[in-house]
């Protein structure tokens, strides 16, 4: 009904909107400036752009010498982020269920262990992982760094999923079993849909975290063929010889576009998760 969506009579919204606008204005200005900077030039010493140019976006067409093509980098990053997300979703959704519902021997030890692993700062493991990857021949491969990233994200995912599974009533599973469904069918068709909001949230977080991951690929997969965006971006700054700040910004914008698209697409869903609402 129209009345329910209109603001209530004793609660004015415009002062809040105004306040929020003022507070976020600096951020918005910075974003706009970032974007404007990538398509314009300004004369030396001036902050005001005076000419329109696409030359900073040149990296889309021309691969720079000694650097991988930006499209290769894009594909690598997508592969990296989606693969870690897939692995994290698959494993957490199953392990979380097992830990929540099945009589796994040593369950509490396992849970505590997973928690400790989550609390462990991953940077301290870097050298050891590096050595291991080199020994098994996965150094400088996407698969290697995907496995490592997924492993580090798993503890959080498992705990999150276990928590959500704990809230699904036992009766639903009992009903499924007496209706003649196997335990696996019960999980897939009856229980999994109940924890879908958690899966969506976990998937989104895993994807964003993979998309922005820097330190693991930097150390474990720095090669040109397997480079991801964050590493590519870092190599642009590190390159003292042809330092191009505007191009750096353009790559940054390019890097951020998928994330923004994702947010726009899933915004409603995200709000639902944060609000704790699992309707629908």
């Amino acid at each position: 009904m129209a009345a329910s969506s209109a603001p209530s009579a004793n609660f004015r919204t415009w002062p809040i909107v105004l306040l929020l606008t003022l507070l976020s204005l600096p951020l918005v200005v910075m974003y706009i400036y970032l974007f404007v900077d990538t398509v314009t030039d300004s004369s030396t010493g001036s902050l005001i752009p005076d000419t329109f140019t696409l030359s900073h976006w040149d990296f889309l067409w021309h691969t720079k010498v000694g650097k991988p093509s930006v499209w290769v980098v894009l594909v690598n990053t997508l592969l990296f982020a989606t693969s870690t997300t897939t692995v994290v979703l698959l494993i957490s959704s199953m392990v979380g269920y097992a830990l929540s519902r099945l009589n796994v021997p040593g369950r509490s030890v396992l849970l505590a262990g997973v928690m400790v692993m989550h609390a462990f700062p991953s940077v301290t493991l870097l050298i050891a992982i590096f050595v291991v990857l080199q020994m098994v021949g996965l150094y400088n491969t996407l698969i290697g760094v995907i496995l490592v990233k997924a492993a580090l994200d798993l503890p959080l995912g498992i705990w999150l999923m276990k928590g959500f599974y704990d809230t699904v009533p036992w009766e639903i599973e009992m009903a499924g079993i007496t209706d003649g469904a196997s335990r696996f069918t019960v999980w897939r068709r009856l229980v999994l849909p109940q924890v879908f909001p958690a899966l969506a949230a976990l998937g989104l977080f895993a994807f964003l975290s993979g998309w922005s991951e820097f330190i693991l690929p930097r150390v474990l997969a720095p090669g040109n063929n397997v480079q991801v965006f964050s590493v590519y971006l870092a190599s642009l700054i590190a390159d003292d010889n042809n330092f191009d700040l505007s191009m750096f910004k353009a790559v940054g914008v390019f890097y951020a576009i998928p994330v923004i698209v994702l947010f726009v697409l899933f915004q409603r869903h995200l709000m639902n998760i944060y609000g704790g609402g699992t309707k629908g």
């Binding site: 009992m174 499924g176 209706d179």
Partner: protein, 351 residues
């Protein structure tokens, strides 16, 4: 199908819930498992449908020993207290689920769902989700889902506990109608004696994991085997008086009221006994006079319920057609029907 529990035991770790229970449910009958909370009714039910693994004994469906048969293959229909409908599916999908799992053809499923929906009167609700249904409608959906597989036995775990009084009355006769129409063997778990008496062919009354008595409702009401059974059945409940038996009569504690005992139930010698007198057996007419004072009057519409305190402090209840001439504090001498008085020994068993 006949169900037989043969020396059935169930324990959770060290907690023994059921020990050595024997119970037969006859083909096509509806049996109530009646007992107070925590006595092991649900445990028994879940063992029959295979959710709990039994710790000892056997469970037979017909002549088949299903003790170690997994739940999926037992062909039982269960209605849970919370209904346990699948919230993400429509009513149609909920009801169709057991058939889908079986791998039936879509057309076949559709036709069977329509038939069962007509049986439980939910044809117009098929496209809704469980959250959009009232309690009674959810109950019907749960029944439909339990019945669609044509199970050998229908198990109902306190199916009416979540309904309001009026719906409860309606669903009581509705469930009974479905059971009679389908001729299915059914077990109804409940702690409400009215439900058990009004819906079922026989009642098995349980206490602390044991079956105390199995009988038809009227047999059990008029001929309870123990004090516990007598106290559990009947609303308003039976009243108990304590006393000592001597020479074929009972002398009530701290008073000079002697109640002569009928031939049956006369204790062999002297000893402590408990007398049970139902409210409808105590009133102006009767052969055993008992004086007392009215301490409470409850109007129930057609009838009044009087609480009468005796000289020894014991309490009797009397239910009578409404009359306006009595009020709290009045002294009355009413009488009990001597042959209806039940006598229980010290251990609670009927003498």
């Amino acid at each position: 199908m006949r169900i037989l529990l043969d020396h059935f035991s169930k324990s959770f770790g060290a907690v023994k819930v059921i020990e050595d229970m024997n119970l037969e449910i006859r083909d096509g009958e509806m049996l109530a498992l009646l007992g107070p909370s925590g006595c092991g009714k649900s445990t028994t039910l879940f063992s029959i449908c295979g959710i709990h693994r039994v710790s000892g004994g056997r469970i037979l469906f017909g002549d088949n020993d299903v003790t170690n048969v997994p739940s999926q293959l037992r062909n039982v229909g269960v209605v849970f207290q919370s209904y346990a409908l699948y919230p993400h599916m429509t009513v149609r999908q909920n009801i169709a689920f057991p058939l889908q799992v079986k791998g039936l053809a879509a057309a076949d499923i559709k036709q069977q769902v329509s038939a069962i929906a007509a049986l439980v009167h939910i044809e117009e609700l098929l496209e809704r989700r469980p959250a959009q249904l009232s309690g009674g409608q959810q109950q019907r959906v749960a029944l439909a889902r339990a019945l669609i597989r044509k199970p050998d036995v229908l198990l109902l775990d306190e199916p009416l506990a979540n309904l309001d009084a009026k719906l409860r009355l309606e669903m009581r006769s509705e469930i009974r109608r479905l059971q009679l129409e389908t001729g299915i063997t059914a077990i109804l778990v409940t702690h409400d004696q009215v439900e058990a008496m009004s819906m079922c062919d026989r009642i098995a009354i349980m206490n602390a994991g044991e079956i105390i008595q199995i009988a038809t409702p009227s047999e059990m009401y008029h001929d309870p085997r123990t004090e516990f059974v007598a106290g559990f059945l009947g609303n308003p409940p039976i009243a108990f008086l304590k006393g000592t038996a001597q020479d074929g009569a009972v002398l009530l504690d701290k008073s000079d009221i002697r109640i002569p005992l009928p031939g049956r139930g006369r204790p062999a010698g002297a000893g402590r006994v408990t007398l049970g007198i139902r409210p409808e057996d105590f009133g102006p007419q009767g052969d055993v006079q008992i004086p007392g004072t009215i301490v409470f009057v409850e109007t129930q519409g057609r009838e009044n319920l009087y609480d009468v305190r005796l000289a020894d402090g014991g309490m009797l209840r009397s239910i009578q057609p409404v009359r306006g001439d009595l009020k709290v504090g009045d002294a009355v001498t009413w009488a009990a029907a001597g042959d209806k008085i039940m006598v229980f020994g010290e251990d609670g068993s009927r003498l």
